[in-house]
Symmetry: C2
Subunit: 395 residues, 2 copies
């Protein structure tokens, strides 16, 4: 795919609303759909840069809020940006800091100018504006930067969401005006909560900026799966066909399958590493609790089909022993497996799309994952309605 | 070295009292002097089996006390012993459990039969005898097992040390009588604290058993470096020339250099991984405190001469950031570096011995490590007396 221009997104195949594509960045071309591991503080928790390559990670997410506070964007820039700082040689994406200001910042105050908040580290006052967010993201040097937006809490009044999304559009304009580097793409973010008319308003105001990609923001903040995927379905199909669509902060395995069905191309979430640190292992049969008694007796890998280091070297009994003994190797190996599980999941989804069998594959995967046995007459029990609807490509 | 018989120890070269050798085990031939990483609970904390191979670890130590309590020796045996359980394919050495009973067991009671103590995990009463220690060690399947001994506390009365070492000899006889597997060697342990006449008594009673190797036990428990290395010097030179000598629970970098000078072949210690978890990095210039401010500004590796993953991929600034941010990758990478540092240290010592330059190399290393600049007239300031004496091969 060396014939792609920078930030070109070329669709390779379609199956219903799902699609596979290549997306070109200065640090390499990635295949979508893809899941992006989260390296909040310049490290995907417990995982080395070489391991990220080994498990076929493609793009890593860095958090602007955390990195600007510590070690400071200038220190990352002194290393030549995130690839030099972290030793991961592939593409990065940085968020704008907006979401973390909402979730972690204390005493925050939002004005038209931007946000003032107290650092969660030392309480010092921090100003974050669209301009400062871009300045920091340019220092961090990620291939993809995100526009500085406000992600309203859930639930929020419609009036608030409307005012917020309108301000987010004005902030987008300021971000684009301030941005100087042409080796970095800036993605706009569509807001609007779970309200179709507000999503539509955000789309109408955002799409004219024609950024190289668009994110669906403001979800996975407390709404139900039904609400979330209705909003995803509504928004994704109104985004340009020839640009990547990024569902921010999602997801769990079932969210990836449902999101891909609805035409989403990019995902990120701390879930695989966080649940790994808590002792859980992701599989097609659901999540294994390695803290429980059963795995401590099982001389089989977590997942016989998985090619990760943990699955090709260790038994559940060994890994469950490490969890019980509180050995550091346990969260490390479970995080590695869980990341590889999500990467393999999207690889399988891509193969199914290219074979024109995505809906059948996703349904079969769901039947097993949600543990829906067949009825007595041989017919399958119903999958969760939101999942079944998404897999059918319905909003 | 495929012509060696099992547990044969063949000396390759000598320089003063220091020597290099090959030692054959069923899981491969190792080169001595060597440092053995400690995998207390079936894992060298934070480090994968593949990484142990990558940093050229040769033999890994497992703790009988911890493994018999959790997951239980039978579970390790069900994996085919420690190599199958941990996925480290090379040789292992297990201790006897005696030392941990002293340091971790509650309410212990020592009789001629053995030791009764309460588990540090759940308070349940555990009986450990020479026979049970060997039974467990045979289930763990290490290439080298250690005789069940008592390691008296420091300081202890001479009368107590004498009674204890005499019982340790009787226990050694019971271990050897009980042992059945001929693919495992059993090393005897010489006790006697820091008292030459008690060391001599222990040597006189222990050497006739002609085990394939001998350990110097009962040190690094609170005595001074002077006292420790006088005891090492006294004991090592009275051990058979053609058998490996193992200084248990040691050491720090300076201890390895001093011990090698006195003819020690094997070392183990939790120090490199423990100090790594606390944020310290070992170098020829001493220990770098990565929690301090200076390394956070240094865009250089911990050690430019080191070939470990941390030193070939990351700056001090990045690693110090991870320490400050309490990222799991920090203890992992610092532990890896520290283990590799000790492995490289013994590799350099071996090269110096084979070149007939050990004393000069060790002196130069010590001058730098202990930061002894030259005097105004160009003569070197004195190294610590215990170190200088050991390097000269003096007791």
């Amino acid at each position: 795919m060396s014939d792609l221009s920078p930030f070109e997104f070329r669709i390779h195949s379609r199956d219903g609303r799902a699609r596979t594509a290549h997306f070109a960045t200065p640090h390499g071309t990635v295949q979508t759909p893809m899941f992006m591991p989260v390296g909040t503080q310049g490290s995907v928790k417990g995982i080395s840069a070489d391991e990220l390559l080994e498990i076929k990670s493609q793009m890593i997410l860095g958090n602007t809020y955390h990195l600007m506070l510590r070690p400071g964007a200038e220190m990352v820039a002194a290393h030549g940006g995130l690839p030099g700082f972290t030793a991961y040689p592939g593409p990065f994406l940085t968020d704008s800091g907006g979401f973390q200001v909402m979730s972690l910042g204390h005493m925050r105050k939002i004005t038209e100018e931007g946000v003032v908040f107290k650092s969660h580290l030392d309480g010092s006052p921090i100003h974050l504006t669209p301009e400062r967010s871009i300045e920091v993201q340019q220092l961090l040097g990620a291939d993809v930067m995100m526009a500085f937006d406000e992600c309203p809490p859930f639930p929020a009044e419609e009036r608030y969401i409307k005012a917020s999304l309108e301000r987010t559009v004005r902030w987008l304009e300021r971000c684009l005006t301030f941005k100087t580097r042409d080796d970095q793409a800036l993605f706009a973010i569509v807001q609007g909560g779970i309200h179709p008319h507000l999503r539509q308003q955000s789309l109408d105001a955002t799409l004219p900026f024609s950024t190289p990609g668009f994110a669906i923001g403001g979800l996975a903040v407390g709404e139900s799966k039904e609400e979330m995927f209705l909003a995803v379905a509504f928004t994704a199909q109104r985004l340009p066909e020839n640009k990547p669509r990024y569902l921010m902060g999602v997801g769990h395995p079932e969210d990836l399958v449902a999101g891909i069905a609805l035409g989403v191309d990019m995902f990120d979430c701390v879930y695989p590493t966080r649940t790994g640190r808590f002792g859980y292992a992701l599989t097609d049969d659901g999540r294994i609790n390695m803290n429980s008694a059963a795995p401590r007796q099982q001389l089989i890998p977590i997942d016989a089909d998985c090619d990760c280091y943990a699955c090709t070297h260790h038994t559940r009994a060994y890994l469950a022993h490490l969890v019980k003994a509180e050995e550091m190797l346990a969260p490390r190996l479970l995080s590695l497996h869980n990341l590889r599980y999500l990467h393999r999941l999207v690889e399988r989804a891509r193969a199914a799309i290219e074979a024109g069998e995505f809906q059948a594959w996703a349904t079969e995967w769901g039947e097993r994952y949600f543990k829906r046995p067949s009825n007595a007459d041989g017919s399958a029990q119903a999958l969760p309605e939101w999942f079944a609807r998404a897999v059918r490509g319905e909003g």
